[in-house]
């Protein structure tokens, strides 16, 4: 353990602690990525395969073959015992414990095989229909648009409003600053789930129920955001602001021409967090939105959950689809992440 705890050792050869570190990281990759990979692979499985036990990593489907004399393709089985052992046969039908099968080479002769003595012949195939079904079934792009609109607008407003507040709290001395700070930190303590009902009534009184704005506005001011940005802005030297004041810049101009660009790393981090929160948000949109044309992807995703049953194949495909944009955004912004918090974390 102790060996992990120090920084680099500056040797050319790998020290044993380096091996430990790489081992840990490899394990981490498996643990962190594995489940999601599993999710992605599962989204290409048929509903039947999803229910299968033991679960298999890759998506399999049963081999089907068109046999002369039968209109529909017949499922292929391998016989495991008896005189036909080792052969592949096509099953015509099953009656009780007996399967009626034919050899594809000899479609005329119907043979009987005990149903225990056959094994399905399977191969790996992606059930892309899970995805195509989605687009047929409903207006995917509508939901995508709604989600995007909510995410983009909410993130912009969050960034604007929070950075303004953070600017005021980090760069001005004024009476009541401590109180405002305390209130904002205090709001960190309130779990959003707890205030759903009162919030719903308030939003209703603002006339924003069933409008995308009803989803966007209430969560736009986040205590985490203010906190994060303020910590970062504290590290911007005041002299730069003074310089701008000498340059006859108004306070607003200082805010958007100096403070905003200089806080870019922290803003990128907040942007990622906000995008993620908004994109994945479920409970509040569920309450605030009623018309289907206003639904977000997460709501649409959940409409695969009925009273008794869940359409897992579609649900997983949809989940993967909703995951893609956020991963893309993350890939774009990830290089800012460490630098961003790196500089905010200092104080």
């Amino acid at each position: 353990m102790t060996a992990f705890l120090t920084r680099t050792r500056g040797r050319k050869r790998l020290h044993w602690t380096d091996w430990m570190a790489y081992a840990y990281l490899t394990l981490g990759v498996l643990l962190m990525f594995g489940p999601v990979l599993w999710l992605v692979l599962s989204s290409f499985k048929t509903e039947r395969e999803l229910q299968n036990y033991p679960p298999r990593l890759l998506p399999y489907v049963q081999k089907m073959e068109t046999v002369p004399g039968y209109d529909k393709p017949l499922p292929i089985y391998k016989v495991t015992a008896g005189p036909l052992a080792g052969q592949e046969v096509a099953q015509i039908r099953r009656i009780g414990l007996i399967s009626q099968v034919v050899k594809p080479s000899d479609p005329k002769t119907v043979l009987k095989v005990p149903f225990k003595d056959r094994k399905a012949v399977e191969h790996v195939a992606l059930a892309t229909s899970n995805y195509s079904k989605l687009f047929e079934r409903f207006n995917f792009f509508r939901f995508f648009y709604n989600s995007t609109f909510i995410t983009v607008m909410a993130t912009l407003i969050t960034l604007l409003v929070n950075s303004m507040a953070a600017f005021a709290l980090s760069k001005y001395q004024f009476r009541g600053r401590g109180l405002v700070m305390a209130l904002i930190i205090g709001t960190l303590m309130i779990p959003p789930t707890v205030v759903l009902v009162p919030l719903f009534l308030i939003v209703r009184d603002f006339g924003m129920i069933d409008s995308l704005w009803g989803v966007i506005i209430p969560g736009a001011a986040t205590p985490t955001g203010v906190f994060l940005l303020r910590q970062y802005m504290l590290t911007i030297p005041d002299e730069i602001l003074d310089a701008a004041r000498m340059d006859k810049a108004s306070e607003w101009k200082i805010y958007w021409r100096i403070i905003l660009p200089l806080s870019a790393p922290a803003i990128a981090v907040l942007a990622i967090l906000s995008i993620m929160w908004r994109w994945n948000d479920f409970l509040w949109p569920l309450i605030a939105l009623q018309k289907q044309e206003n639904f977000t992807l997460q709501l649409a995703l959940n409409s695969f959950r009925g009273e008794f049953t869940t359409d897992w194949a579609s649900l997983l495909a949809m989940t993967v689809l909703t995951l893609v944009p956020i991963v893309v955004v993350f890939a774009f912004l990830q290089k800012y992440i460490a630098t961003g918090i790196a500089s905010t974390g200092g104080k």
Partner: protein
């Protein structure tokens, strides 16, 4: 994007300039705070205040005007226990079960969270290849939605899930993870740590990187062993960041709900029912909705949370100074 923002900012500049002239730069701070305070006021503080009204009224009506005043009855019911250590002796036993679970949960979750995110941050802070990649990998789960997280792990951990299939494959004893209260609870903690670890790792990593390099070099010249460097240099200098991590993980830990609820539904029995789930089920998902009880419970939780945070800050601050 920029071409869109610039004109907007320029337009806002006019009124702001006028305000600056009227108010002076100092009072202008309030103008900058205003939008945020407005949003907080209406959409956070006001609901919290309304919550107090709900807590002191009864019935399952949603609109406050329909609800009869019941005073402290909801609080009395919640607090009606012979012994707070034994949920069975309480009138609302499920609340106390949830409280007990939550306490255990945050102790374990905060502990493991700090331990693993610290270890990961320390390793990612070394000179290793593909550091960006590994950093992204550990952050990645943070991007997922709680439902997806729960779903994925449920598929892995259910009786006929992937983990048991693997154990089975290697001829090991399979365990019905979701049926054992201990295991289900342990896995809930694990999943919650798995889900949020990346965020704290990042904060700690940032903290580590802000420790000046030359201090480590000085320690190297001072012949300090790795363990001593960690104990005497890294840890104390990381303390401010650690406080942030501790406070945030405590607050978020108490607020844990989505992923565990979607994962176990609070089961088996009530083994993984956390306080927020209790509040949610009574106030929102239940039939009839016991808004009053739920609100009262949420106020109790908030009070405890504030107290816990204060204690935690006090302890860390004292340690930092001592």
């Amino acid at each position: 994007m920029l071409s869109l923002i610039t004109p907007l900012m320029q337009i806002i500049e006019w009124p702001m300039r006028a305000l600056q002239r009227i108010l002076g730069p100092r009072k202008l701070a309030w103008v900058f705070l205003l939008p945020n305070l407005f949003l907080f006021g209406f959409f956070t503080f006001l609901p919290v205040i309304l919550n107090f009204f709900y807590a002191t009224t009864g019935s399952d009506h949603i609109l406050l005007e329909d609800r009869p005043y019941v005073g402290m009855r909801n609080f009395d019911e919640l607090m009606n226990c012979t012994s707070y250590l034994d949920p069975n002796s309480c009138q609302i036993d499920l609340f106390w079960r949830a409280v007990h679970n939550t306490l255990w949960f945050i102790v374990l979750q905060v502990g493991f969270m700090v331990f693993f995110s610290m270890t990961t941050a320390l390793i990612l802070n070394r000179k290793i290849r593909a550091r960006g990649f590994f950093r992204a990998v550990f952050f990645f789960p943070v991007l997922l939605s709680p439902v997806v997280v729960a779903l994925v792990w449920k598929w892995i951990l259910q009786d006929q899930g992937a983990l048991n299939a693997v154990l089975d494959h290697f001829g090991l004893q399979t365990v019905n993870w979701m049926l054992s209260p201990t295991w289900a609870f342990a896995w809930s903690v694990f999943i919650s740590v798995w889900f949020h670890m990346g965020f704290y790792t990042l904060i700690l990593l940032a903290g580590l990187q802000s420790i000046p390099r030359d201090v480590y070099e000085a320690a190297a010249m001072d012949a300090a062993s790795p363990w001593r460097v960690f104990r005497k240099i890294t840890l104390p200098l990381l303390m401010p960041t650690m406080v942030v991590v501790l406070v945030l993980s405590l607050i978020k830990g108490v607020q844990t709900f989505d992923e565990v609820y979607a994962f176990t539904g609070g089961g088996p029995g009530s083994a993984t029912t956390l306080v927020i789930q209790f509040i949610y089920q009574n106030g929102f998902a239940g039939a009839p909705r016991l808004f009053g009880l739920a609100s009262a419970a949420s106020i109790l939780v908030a009070i405890v949370l504030i107290a816990l945070t204060a204690v935690q800050l006090w302890i860390t601050r004292r340690n930092a100074n001592g």
